[in-house]
Symmetry: C2
Subunit: 296 residues, 2 copies
């Protein structure tokens, strides 16, 4: 009863246009009986005649004309979709929901966003900034397509592509600029200021300094690198920041930067996405763009 097919609509349109079974069949590149049968089936399943057949003419009935308008709309929509698919299959990304951790976002985003939108002019780019565990959850959930986080993630369902490795540097008040470099495990006693729980950068810093994550550290947490640096400038303590943040953050506070001896503490930043995401190639391309922007 309710088994209309696009094939029937196509044949119908050809017949409506030609007004002749033989010519319509030719236009569809099929035999005349094939078209005849399809039209008959169509009329049968609709329950009324679409064409008035006379020995000298085939023409639309009143209902046929109304049907023709609807059929035309549908066929046009289908053709549109095919066109769209044709351009879409160039492997291009239509929409990218990208997560970025807060210790990277403010410094990296401005550098690569324009590159991405230039490479993919039609892309619909959404950026979400939050801590790694949340990003991973949303990624696995399908709420994000990819994320820029510190590697490794230890998530078997995720593919990783490393983008760059950067040093962590020590930030001290400006007056300490001549002071000697202290060993990492001495930092805690100098009142080491860190990000709140959840930030992977905090964990990395603690690990570098051999401080137990469980130990209470009241009053020494900030919610952003910017805040931490301001606190250092006010003489409250010292902190660690990634190399990438140096330019931006040290400009607005009286602090000085000290790099550690070899081997310096580092973190590796990468792009991650679900292994099951079929756009792996395109995502890897995005990764290259980000990598290029980060190095510049």
């Amino acid at each position: 009863m309710n088994n209309l097919t696009l094939r029937q609509l196509t044949y119908f349109e050809a017949l409506a246009h030609e007004g002749h079974f033989g010519r319509a069949a030719e236009r569809c590149a099929i035999s005349q009986p094939a078209l005849s049968v399809q039209i008959k089936d169509l009329e049968e399943s609709l329950g009324f005649a679409l064409f008035e057949r006379g020995p000298r003419h085939v023409r639309l009935t009143a209902l046929g004309e109304a049907f023709a308008r609807r059929a035309g709309d549908i066929l046009r929509a289908v053709a549109d979709m095919n066109d769209w698919a044709e351009t879409a299959k160039g492997g291009r990304i239509e929409r990218l929901r990208l997560g970025v951790i807060p210790t990277i976002a403010p410094y990296l985003l401005p550098r690569f966003i324009s590159n991405v939108t230039q490479a993919y002019p039609t892309i619909d780019l959404h950026v979400r900034e939050t801590v790694t565990p949340r990003l991973i959850t949303e990624l696995l959930d399908g709420r994000l397509d990819a994320a820029i986080v510190a590697l490794p993630t230890d998530e078997p369902a995720l593919a990783e592509m490393s983008l760059f490795t950067e040093e962590m540097v020590l930030v001290r008040p400006e007056k300490d600029s001549g002071a000697p470099l202290v060993p990492p495990n001495a930092l805690d006693e100098m009142r080491l200021l860190l990000l709140e729980e959840g930030h992977c950068f905090r964990d990395q810093a603690l690990s570098f300094c051999n401080i137990s994550p469980a130990r209470p550290r009241d009053g020494l947490d900030g919610s952003s690198l910017s805040t931490l640096v301001q606190m250092v400038g006010a003489g409250i303590g010292v902190t660690l920041i990634p190399d990438m943040a140096v330019d931006v953050e040290t400009r607005s506070a009286p602090v000085c930067i000290t790099r550690f001896d070899t081997p310096p503490p580092t973190r590796t930043v990468g792009l991650v996405w679900r292994k099951s995401n079929p756009m792996t190639d395109a995502l890897r391309e995005i990764g290259h763009i980000v990598r290029g922007a980060a190095q510049a």
Copy 2:
């Protein structure tokens, strides 16, 4: 390449909605592999993946979501069309292009139009008024669906349904109201006013009076019954009009009506349409409505 089917769209929508091959297949009342294969074929012919398959989830890719919107539009249009067909197949007329001859139109139309639109509230009614030969041509051409003319038409391709038979009556100036009835073949000498060539009513009148259609009759032709009656009122001659026109036309001119003895001259008016028109039943219904209106 370009062989999309509605079946594929249906399965696609089910899978997009369920996010699970097994359940989507169940919803479509088919087996899981059947759905799997159709989705695969669809993706293959599009040239890109619509779904991201993971061991624990099946979800739309970005392109898949865009595709889903288009697919939804198309499926909705198809569903609409099915709904429309459902109501349309009640044998109802959507559009009626009706031809009527000029000696009937002004008197009959006002009587039945409201009945027709009442019986078919959604009808799209077009009325064309012209002489019989032209109506027949347009009917055979498919430019009209039906016509109200004097029978018979002698057209083998047309079906006829007689509606009513009416007398032709004599119209004379009012001052002749007491005058005796003259025999038909004497009318010519009393300056018989007739419609122009092409009107079937003219031919019927000539035939009744035994006048040769070929004979020149200069200055005695009018373009409408109304004109003829006015001319009679002005004392220029006499004329014949159909019974149905009496009420309307004698009201505005100083004329009197005389009926002929038995057997009176009559004409039979009928509805005609192409035999090949599939809406015969509905047209016959229209005929009944017109018949009822004519008798009232």
